[in-house]
Symmetry: C2
Subunit: 319 residues, 2 copies
Amino acid sequence: MTLPPSYLDVLAAATRINGVANRTPVFTSRMLNTQLGIEVFFKGEHLQRTGSFKFRGAYNALSRLDAAAQQRGVIAFSSGNHAQGVALAARLLGIPAVICMPTDAPQVKVDATAGYGAEIVRYDRLTQDREAVARSIADARGLTLIPPYDHPDIIAGQGTAALELCQEIPDLDALLVPVGGGGLISGSALAAHGLNPALRVFGVEPANAADTYESLRQGTRVTIAPPDTMADGLRITTPGRITFPLVQQHVEAIITVSEAEIAAGTRYIMAYLKQVIEPSAGTGPGALLAGKLPSGVRKLGVILCGGNIEPQVLAELHR
Amino acid sequence: MTLPPSYLDVLAAATRINGVANRTPVFTSRMLNTQLGIEVFFKGEHLQRTGSFKFRGAYNALSRLDAAAQQRGVIAFSSGNHAQGVALAARLLGIPAVICMPTDAPQVKVDATAGYGAEIVRYDRLTQDREAVARSIADARGLTLIPPYDHPDIIAGQGTAALELCQEIPDLDALLVPVGGGGLISGSALAAHGLNPALRVFGVEPANAADTYESLRQGTRVTIAPPDTMADGLRITTPGRITFPLVQQHVEAIITVSEAEIAAGTRYIMAYLKQVIEPSAGTGPGALLAGKLPSGVRKLGVILCGGNIEPQVLAELHR
């Protein structure tokens, strides 16, 4: 059994990514603070390298591989931000990388991933199992599979964003973090509670992809049908084996948001903070604007997890 | 005759706006630098209060009024960023403000301006002369008219953005600044040449609104037909009386950009810098991507002048 990561692993990850990952800026909005009557601090991971927090975990995990494994290379399956995070981390560390992407992945994401020097292997999403494709290539070529969230080094790396935020704004009393597979929120919770055990940690999940909300309610990992949400980074069907117990231990509540609330949150950040975020990052602002934050919070940190929005989604949101 | 402002006026303006205006961040893009083979530093005035640099000049001009004039109040005509700049500056200084806006101005801009506490007076753009409307109200109520660019205090205030940029990146060898009425570029040039007389200053203007380009070519202020450009902040028909001689003296060349180049520049900043800018601010990036920067520049400052883009324009750009 894999041991879950700890606060110390987040600190170690922070040392590894120091000078490589961007220390992303923190944004505030006078207008939003006035409207909500609380202070909100947005951690801008859309300004992280590759446009999302995923680079943090990928770089941490890849730099932890031993020399032989680094020389053989890594493989990941993703059509999204994890692919780009692994591809760039591999290039910076001189590690060969194979990324399995569906044949119908947006060309712009395929190009970006290939642009970081990764070898792209295409598979048919409708007839092939991506994990099986990746495993067969990994076995044949001796590659290490880098999972998108359910891995201690990935979790610890993702926790560094919240660590930076809590260090920069030391008297936060709560964090609000988007929930997909749980890598970001469990890492964030480890960081937050390592610094301040009293800090309240809330997750935010699309109502249409509420696998973690439902799993917490039932007290066990449940699997939902493939979710239909514009927050493409959060389209996960079940929480991770390692992440879920961490969420159970550290997270006070999961807030669910409708598609309309996600759209409103995404638009708000673009209109008033002038920051381009993807819908997954609009979940937190959407929850705030909908008045869904539990009471008693006065100084809130919110992770804006990424900024890789498809042009047609951007257009659709403003039409 | 009004005396033109000097470098010292820009320095004085910087002292006046200190702690009131945002000291906006500077953005860079590894990818763009690699692509262009030069270093580019973008000054993010879309993150200025009210979403554009216009707040700088407005606050400087209003804080220079004597106590009696401040008590009587100010008036401005604008459907855009100058309106919001004057409205917020007036509120912060406790000065009554009247803003004349056309009856067909976007409701979101009317609301934003009213939200800063200004009194809005509507006029019919097709049948009424906005300057005459404003002057008659100004005369009747003893208000001071605050022009959008052709005023020494406005010019000096706008120059503080370039001043900050040149102070933060002290070895720039050139600046690229959007040109509307010339307030921003003449202030920028005063700041730049006050710090370093050898610094090259370039303007960028929509080919569809090339009144300054044409005026420079002819050596005299010319008036063009009302321009049709998506860069709504640069829809000016003639350079200012005070700004134009400063442009003649300080600006090496004006680069003109097509509507397609403006669109490409705006999209690039959104896609790769994840910053929401308005088309007027996309002119500089558009000129760079089109390879229109004169040769010999190695370290360039570019002013991103604002971020107040209409939702439908944002949609149109990404469709």
